[in-house]
Symmetry: C2
Subunit: 672 residues, 2 copies
């Protein structure tokens, strides 16, 4: 229970404002006339009190005053008017003669700053857990969204960049907070209610409220008054404004507040925000007021959450360029089959940059009251750089980015190198939103390429999809989507991990040779055409592929361990690589279109057409791929991306992006 | 178990280095000749293997090859020479005709990077918990000290500022780490051992090792070779140097490493550091090597820990000025009684700045192998600013500071405003090292003074003494030591909280008046002399003291709650305050020497002499003080600090500082 020390005074009556639920503690000795030996107490019927040490004989009117006599006062009903209750302490000398009388005039008020701490979408009254935060289904604590979308169509910025509310729709993105009062119509002269946040908090949160009739009476605002008449909603606390008086509406009243998050969890911000309310009483003239009651609530900002391939696709994004008409058409057909939307990013916006997977990653933020998608903009900043901000950012479509100041951005900063697994459980620890997967340099190398620190720190700080760092720097482009993907499955863990496998590739080619198809041609009709025999006779290529298989196997072992997978959860796809000289180092690229770099839309897979050798008019690589996928109920559509993507070192996945439905699992229910 | 995927090859023998404790996993199908239907396995006696799915009939030589046939290999003894074991897989066709043979040449080696993960002071072998960290008596995880002392007497810097070891004594401050090897004398050509840390880790840790005979054989070092011949110990990893090859000594060998911490936990550093070791194998010509084994260990840097008044004093620090001769003498006498040392900071160093409490705070760092005191230097930077670095920093005496870049430093940054409680238990949560106490502005005010963010963040980040923020901005000087202190006690929680109390002060004066001593004088013989009657008649003073009592009571309520105290754990000391105009605000100063601002040395208290009214030649305030302290076995020595300290708004505590023995409780045993 909130306990407050309070003074007694025998020279004049003391006026005390009491907040219901607290306990007033008065030292009976400290202010007693020096010769006091006994005391007695009288009070109004709605005042409850207790004395310690308890009087031995309850029937005598005057109790002996001991060196540690304390008086505790509570009330459980609120005052109709100021000072409507009274309590007096009478002090007696040795002969029970009265030598002093201390009178308290009491005003009781109910007061609580309330939030949706039980996460059901409504702001309940004075939740006992409102000031703390706990993860998990039995957890508690209110939730905040970063107001990173943009309500305004013209002169676009994210809403969190503005310290005012320009559209009422913006309130939907904010968490409600309510100041509930029950008490006399007014507080005594000089008493004030203030909302306040810490300096660190002010970088992460802003609070608004509608203006009220009382606002004229709050004098301190001064320069803010102008804004009062311009706007229906005024800022209470926020950036560079840590504390502000709030009106006491009195009677039985509720004052609504709207709370917006300003930044995502990051290396230097754990996502927790505390908002305080204090009631202060006036002091002696010239002295600052002293606080007599403080209430507080805690929020956690929603992390940015990625969506794995197993979630339902809503909209597919591709770029239109001067050379990809047929490719676009294939994608359009595929989206039609899947019943999802297609958004084409046209040339005036993409300026020839077709790698829409690499410029952005789609995610979302979630709270009990609202959720919306948020695009993470890569520091890659190719010619597509304006697309996320100019096209995607809008009402209920958020935007976030991390820019590096002192590091060079490498190919590993493209978001083909940022993926997320389906939900997994690893050694009893569950990741119901999956785990983020990124590719980095192998740590023993000193000159390897890496994803920039700021983006990595951002991803780790979101906490709910604890990242796994794979080794992708062995590839020229260096993206994890060049050797792995996830597809939905009806059985086991409800998904399979697909991995590129040169060994599986060689096996297909050797079988062909054994079966007398050694003269069959890869890339038939193209200038790159080469026979199965020639591929198998290339000892250098074979050595390179052993190396690639080793690199992938290293990642395979990491993924098995970090995702808790069994061998049966993994499928090897027949894909060969070759090494090319990349500056001083040798790095790998796909030898033929890299089938694992696919577009996954429900049970429809858009797979790069591999141009493998044919047997009886059918491509053996396609046939192998289908025979691996069909038992899972998955249908492969092979898309020709050879000229416009494969030859530029990318494939179908690199050239597309998918906005997916959010998970039905709510992030705050995760056990961390 | 550490599992590693490995390739089989029917075209040529494969050489594999195996680390004991791991498991090799080989896909029997992936590399089998396409027509294979059966397989059989033969191996050296010291190679163990398992096949899944298990063969139904164990007696037949050739088992059927299924699509998911896997081979698992382990060894439990190490190789004497390279490739001293063999395993071969023979593949058969439909008619059990041999169609392929894959041979593995195996080399087994034991290898572990070891630390003192069980915290007993010795580096045990391959502790299963070495890669993680857990708080508490049943916890685990190695411990690191920030090497913040200075071995060198001349050209002084903290050792962590230098990337070389200049004195062998510096190794005492570092944590030992051992690379234990058991295996053949050499690794196969091209295999390498590397130590590596993350970029973030490199800001926090440096690793050294002695040079070895093998060092000549490691060619990559190039420019480092010069250093090799100059120094016995060379840096392996550290700032801007994330990875380095380490020699494989071979046979049964141990290579020692020495690990030093570079920074304390802070807002952006949680104190955890991981160090990795990797074994890489060479790849095809021109390709980077691939990792085949990784080991890692985790450290936590010791937090900076403060010492409460209840710990035994070692040395008292005071400044000598041109006006404090008598004061110095009193302190000297007191230290003599206590049997602790006295260090006088002379005028050439203090340049007239007598507030040695405010410039520094003593603490320590602790590990199973070593501990030493560390001074936290305040950003206050008065004329004493050179003292901590120039005088205190030295061998086994560390130094740390936090400087603010963008905030103004206020009086609240002085470390009279930084104290620590004795050990407490609060609602079942125990703080065996106590809790840090600082004073800040009351949060409803926007223009209040605060302790700077960087220092507050540093204090919070140490974690083991979770800070409590009190409200001290109501005082002109604004330090918590102006209204509170802790003294040892034989009973209850083994300490008492002493609080200044104007009510307790007035009570003493009223009793005097009632007993006929109203004409008795405070400050007798000084120009400030004033009678008891005059003090009691001053209504303004009374109002001011009610305000002060309210401010202290607010803090009292916070302390009771945050330290889990009962009324009986708190003693009110009779001290009056007065308000003075401090710029626009009214703030408080002590009306007479502030007895709570005392020096606590075991059971000896050095208390500011209050100059109270006398009764029968004895000061009533001193008598009251003694009557409160003596039942606790505490002895008060009243020290006249009136002219040189009190009139300059400080007292005995502000003018002294105490280096104390560290707690016997080790911080890593705390449950967090
Ligand atoms: Ca919005
Ligand atoms: Ca991606
Ligand atoms: Ca040292
Ligand atoms: Ca201090």
């Amino acid at each position: 229970m909130y306990q407050r020390s309070c003074r007694l005074d025998t020279s004049e009556a003391t006026h005390v404002v009491y907040v219901v639920g607290a306990e007033l503690k008065l030292n009976l000795v400290r202010c007693a006339p020096p010769e006091s030996k006994f005391f007695s107490i009288r009070c109004s019927s709605n005042v409850h009190y207790k004395v310690t040490p308890a009087a031995k004989d309850k029937n005598v009117a005057a109790h002996p005053l001991t060196p540690n006599s304390l008086l505790f006062i509570t009330m459980d009903t609120v005052s109709e008017v100021l000072n409507d209750r009274k309590l007096s302490v009478r002090y007696y000398g040795e002969t029970k003669n009265t030598i002093g009388n201390a009178v308290l005039h009491l005003t009781a008020v109910e007061m609580s700053l309330d939030v949706d701490a039980d996460r059901d979408g409504t702001v309940e009254k004075n939740n006992p857990n409102k000031a703390s935060w706990m993860w998990g289904p039995k957890g508690h604590g209110a939730i905040l969204l970063v107001n990173c979308d943009s309500e305004s169509g013209y002169f676009k910025t994210t809403d969190s960049d503005k310290d005012e509310i320009s559209k009422v729709s913006d309130l939907q993105d904010m968490s409600k907070m309510v100041l509930r009062i029950n008490g006399p119509p007014e507080l005594p002269e000089g008493y004030k209610l203030s909302m306040h946040i810490s300096k660190t908090g002010s970088e992460s949160v802003r609070v608004f409220r509608p203006q009220t009739n009382q606002d004229g009476q709050i004098k301190k605002w001064g320069h803010k008054l102008l804004k009062l008449f311009l706007k229906d909603y005024i800022m209470v606390v926020g950036k560079d404004h840590l504390a502000e008086e709030v009106p006491y509406l009195g009677g039985k009243s509720e004052l609504q507040f709207f709370v917006e998050g300003l930044r995502f969890p990051d290396k230097d911000f754990d996502g927790f925000i505390t908002i305080n309310l204090s009631l202060t009483e006036p002091s002696a003239k010239g002295c600052p007021e002293t606080p007599i009651f403080t209430d507080k609530v805690m929020f956690h900002v929603s992390p940015w959450i990625m969506t794995p391939n197993t979630l339902k696709p809503i909209e597919v994004f591709v770029c239109s360029t001067d050379d990809n008409y047929a490719f676009l058409k294939s994608i359009k057909n595929l989206t039609k089959i899947c019943g999802c939307k297609l958004k084409v990013c046209h040339e005036y916006m993409n300026r020839g940059d077709r790698w829409i997977q690499d410029e952005i990653e789609f995610g979302y933020i979630d709270s009990p009251h609202h959720r919306f998608p948020v695009v993470l903009d890569s520091p890659r900043d190719g010619e597509l750089l304006d697309f996320p901000y100019e096209v995607l950012l809008g009402p209920d479509f958020g935007y976030v980015t991390r820019q590096t100041v002192d590091e060079t951005v490498s190919s590993l900063d493209s978001f083909g190198n940022l993926e997320v697994s389906p939900p997994v459980t690893v050694n009893g620890k569950s990741y119901p939103l999956g785990r983020i997967i990124i590719g980095v340099a192998f740590p023993t190398t000193t000159q390897g390429r890496n994803m920039t620190k700021v983006v990595q720190e951002f991803l780790w700080a979101q906490k709910v999809q604890e990242p796994i760092a794979l080794y992708s720097d062995w590839l020229v482009v260096g993206h994890v989507d060049e050797f792995m993907t996830f597809v939905p499955a009806p059985d086991r863990k409800k998904f399979r991990l697909l991995l590129a496998s040169p060994d599986a590739g060689y096996k297909v080619f050797k079988r062909l040779q054994n079966n007398g198809y050694g003269k069959g041609e890869m890339f038939q009709g193209l200038e790159e055409a080469i026979s199965v025999d020639d591929i198998l006779n290339d000892k250098q290529l074979q050595a390179e592929n052993i190396y690639v298989q080793n690199c992938i196997d290293w990642n395979r072992d990491v993924l098995k361990k970090e995702l808790g997978l069994d061998e049966e959860d993994i499928i090897d796809l027949p894909i060969l690589f070759k090494l090319v000289k990349d500056k001083e180092e040798c790095r790998a690229v796909a030898y033929y279109p890299d089938m694992v770099n696919m577009l996954v839309l429900g049970n429809q897979l858009g797979v790069p057409k591999p141009f493998g050798p044919q047997v009886k008019g059918k491509c053996v690589l396609e046939a192998e791929m289908c025979s691996l996928m069909e038992p899972l109920g998955l249908h492969c559509t092979f898309i020709d991306d050879f000229a416009p993507y494969h030859k530029l070192l990318g494939e179908v996945h690199c050239g597309s992006n998918v906005l997916r439905e959010p998970s039905t699992f709510r992030w705050w229910n995760q056990e961390l």
